[in-house]
Symmetry: C2
Subunit: 595 residues, 2 copies
């Protein structure tokens, strides 16, 4: 597709977009391109995502802190005399008091507001139907910023909630409860100006030519209708990716993954199952050791955080409540590359490795898993001298935290589009996130094959970008239609004064139009990376706008990690739930029941 077209063609297309649905392919192509006319402007995103944070979070955290406890005394105000001190103290006390009341009032209002949604504009089927597939970072970030009154918006996802994935490793040990990081999609959608239709279903097939989707209710309870088709004008695909086992035999059958909330629940149950089975009567010492050996494959942030959380669980809780497991508990981490956490700076990598050594977590780098059976992992380790040897690791629980592959629906779509023939990793998109070889179909997040890492940070920025693009598209279409209407009017009217007035209005509209059409291609702004590494320590790489990078690690970074994550959680409800979970674990410890 060409990246710019003549304004006249765009106008015509826009007029037709407003009047006829569905569009013919060339018309739609023109309409989509209409938003790409203006010069490239750097995209700025306010959102911070998975394993990242920037100075805006720091300042917002400071603001939040100050609101509760008053600002710290500014050095300029330090008084020389004791009476001034007293006055200052009084002032500080009143400020603290006042801002505490304001803070509570604000939180109270936010909660009240979130629980009392306004009446919504009903869905308008005469408008273009925009279907959003998925409920992850990309889709939800889009839905948050989208002006839903411009479209007939339909969301389709097999799960009816958004999952705050960065805290998923914490759910495996009960540091965070599952529902604290699940945000009901209905809450998000119910607060939009115009109502949004939601179908809890899996999209099993996308027809890019006839512009229809096939939906299927894959849940346990099915109605008479459990498979149906859904036509669309515009489509945003944000279905994410699925785990891949790289074809290694035995992984699919024996490993746990860590992508969905059910995965975390399964791991949590299995950890306690291993412990209880290890302490079963007459269990042999070797079998006990095997059952208490927890292996993580993948040295990315998810694997590292899970290993850290698991070791914490042992040190802080299991050791106390199940003393008979003694020193047999062991966590190992296998990574094929020479280092863990390749996206972090070198000093943080070695800090993590040292910290894991202190915690007695065994890192096996340069080790490739070759085969997995129900009780052992067979891997090829590269020795210090470069030679290779096969090792056998008996294990009780294996967590597979590496590898992304396209979902079946994405693979199916790729097979239908000749332009996607060469792609392996996912849907290839152009600079505007349009799926190559299609019109009016965009892809965001892990299902799109881009040059960026498959992180929440990227997906969020892409979703927010697409919301701006779609909002702008709707505004442009409306303005252009208005201009065409006025031009018709000018031609029809005979009074000179009227003609003049209408012409002025046309000029105004065209001015607005020029201002609106300034959505350039998507640009990613990396804001850094964050990871928890166990025993109340975290690491952080901050990337600043001026190109500076700062690495930070330790207990203070852990506090920052927590405050950054809380500020990234969308709703006040879930923010409070997460904070309460942390307090709960501090007060009561983690639960050792096997649900």
């Amino acid at each position: 597709m060409s990246s710019s077209i003549l304004a006249g063609s765009a106008r015509l297309a826009a007029r037709q977009i407003a009047r006829h649905a569905p569009l013919s392919r060339p018309q739609l192509s023109a309409a989509v391109s209409a938003v790409r006319i203006a010069a490239v402007s750097p995209s700025s995103s306010k959102f911070i995502t998975h394993h990242t944070a920037d100075s805006s979070i720091i300042s917002s955290f400071r603001r939040a802190y100050a609101t509760e406890s008053g600002p710290s005394p500014s050095p300029k105000q330090s008084a020389p005399s004791s009476s001034k001190f007293k006055l200052f103290g009084l002032y500080l006390w009143r400020l603290t008091y006042g801002s505490a009341i304001l803070g509570v009032a604000y939180v109270g209002y936010a909660l009240y507001d979130s629980r009392h949604p306004y009446d919504q504009m009903p869905p308008d089927p005469s408008k273009k139907t925009l279907v959003v597939l998925g409920s992850g970072w990309g889709a939800v970030s889009l839905l948050k910023k989208l002006d839903t009154e411009n479209y007939n918006v339909i969301v389709v996802s097999p799960r009816n909630f958004f999952l705050f994935t960065p805290l998923l490793p914490s759910c495996t040990t009960g540091t965070i409860e599952n529902r604290s990081i699940m945000e009901p999609l209905r809450h998000i959608l119910r607060h939009k100006k115009a109502s949004v239709t939601f179908y809890e279903a899996e999209c099993t097939s996308i027809d890019p030519v006839n512009r229809t989707l096939l939906l299927r209710d894959n849940s346990e309870i099915k109605g008479e209708t459990y498979e149906t088709s859904l036509p669309f004008d515009y489509l945003v695909i944000g279905v994410g990716a699925q785990n891949t086992t790289f074809g290694i035999p035995g992984v699919q059958e024996n490993a746990c993954f860590l992508k969905e909330i059910q995965d975390a629940q399964k791991i949590r149950t299995r950890i306690m199952d291993c412990i209880e089975t290890a302490t079963f009567k007459d269990q042999s010492p070797e079998e006990r050791k095997r059952l208490l050996h927890f292996v993580v494959v993948g040295g990315g942030p998810t694997g590292i955080e899970f290993a850290g959380e698991l070791q914490d669980f042992f040190e802080e809780d299991l050791r106390k409540w199940v003393p008979e497991i003694g020193s047999d508990f062991k966590v190992s981490l296998i990574e094929a590359l020479p280092n863990v956490l390749p996206m972090f700076s070198k000093e943080l990598i070695s800090y993590t490795e040292r910290s894991f050594q202190d915690q007695k977590i065994d890192i096996k780098s340069k080790t490739m898993v070759k085969k997995v059976t129900d009780k052992a992992i067979f891997a090829e380790a590269t020795n210090a001298d470069g030679t290779k040897s096969m090792i056998e690791l008996p294990y009780g629980l294996l967590v597979w935290a590496t590898g992304n592959a396209p979902r079946p629906v994405v693979r199916d779509l790729m097979s239908k589009i000749p332009e996607q023939a060469k792609s392996r990793r996912g849907l290839e998109v152009n600079d505007y996130m349009v799926v190559n070889g299609t019109e009016g179909i965009w892809a965001v997040g892990d299902c799109a094959a881009t040059s960026y890492a498959p992180t929440a940070q990227v997906a969020t920025q892409q979703g927010a970008y697409l919301a701006r693009l779609l909002n702008s598209l709707a505004k442009t279409n409306a303005l252009e239609e208005k201009v065409l209407e006025l031009e018709d009017l000018v031609a029809a009217t005979s009074s000179l004064d009227d003609k003049k007035a209408i012409t002025v209005e046309i000029e105004n509209k065209e001015k607005s139009l020029r201002r609106t059409k300034t959505i350039g291609p998507f640009q990613y702004t990396h804001q850094g990376a964050l990871a928890y590494i166990g025993s109340d320590k975290a690491i952080a790489d901050f990337a600043f706008a001026d190109g500076r990078k700062v690495a930070s690690s330790g207990e203070l970074t852990f506090l920052f990690w927590r405050s950054a994550y809380v500020s990234m959680v969308f709703s006040t409800r879930n923010k409070m739930l997460v904070v309460f979970d942390w307090i709960k674990v501090k007060m009561f410890g983690r639960d050792v029941s096997r649900e």
Copy 2:
């Protein structure tokens, strides 16, 4: 078995109990009977259980309230002059302040104490092995009161936590989170003086002759050893009962039960699944109505509470977040008897029926379920004129909250004991909870066939009674052994002074012995019944020691219901979790995510 034996025989038996293990059958019989010598004394229980509460709870609740906020002004202290008022106000303020600090300090200490268990005496295999099967009300109430240093105690249960069943209906809608009513068994056992061994396993077979159990690890993760035998000297069976479907076809396959935490989780998931499936694209209006019809079978407290909670969920949350379900949501309750809640007084039954009518919950009494398919219930209804007619009820979710049957291990044991041939409902026991036809094997709770209702209240009192009995048995045995030792000493010694001193000591010991052996047969003290009936209303029947009965209903009774239940939860940790869940629902509403 005879209910009393000669003291000499008891002494001899006790001596042998202390020296040899395992015992021969007649010796054991004597030892067990030794605790039954004394006269029957009325048993008093401090524990309040499922659907019950007594004045001690009320007063303890008042105490808790007073500790937090100061006592309410006593009428005697009302002052006539304003200065007295001021002084009183000041006094009150200080008292409030002081008791708030004390209250926080107490809770803090309780939490610290519960998280820092002392070192335990190691298990002593030379002592008699007492095996406790189960982790429900009966078993845990026994374990709480048992002096574990007297035995080599082993607990076997397929679940490693105690479940506070009275709040299970609240878990189905998320009013209470699952883990708030799960109390890790390890916490309870770790706080005993002598350590207790726990095996997470199912007991699949009991051999009352060779005195061994067969244990099997039925969980997902199994070790090399997953089946083993366990010898015992004494055995307490507290495995509860299982659901029965009365042989009605289709119930087992299509209904959800409400006994274990997994049942509550399954119902919670299915409720949201029904809602999402009902709002699926192109669902027909009849199918929608079917999917939104929730049916409960059984008009006992569990069924009533579940129906009330479900209607609350719709009124307070679903109606707001999923407005498209409109007025199709419906809850029905089927009961075969003419009335629901037969254990409550008549005024409370009709109050409940009126309240359900206001809430639009449909009660179908005198209706017997005959057949269940995956989408409909077929039942025989008795009409007002006494005629009978078959009705068909299409449903989305069916919860089966009626019927108890013995578990397979209990049925297996019954088949091995000739004295149990006639029993159908469970293990027949004598007045001391000893399983008829066995020695040193007791049964508590729902697995025992007694004249009492299968409630938590009964199980708890039986467990506590058995703890006293076993503590007394151990003390008696120790004293009798000491007496025999002293008598040997008296015979061997030549000094007259020594003989005199020892004789005095023997007399003292025998005095203690007479004081100790005063455990009469089990006596149940009914303390009332409680149930939540939806829309912030509860009903309560109080039974007082003097035979008076008081019925109470409404919103205030609901507050009492809550405070009674919180006071019944064992640990400070779980008490706080339950209270926080209630606050959470008040603040944020219930979660509409489908986990």
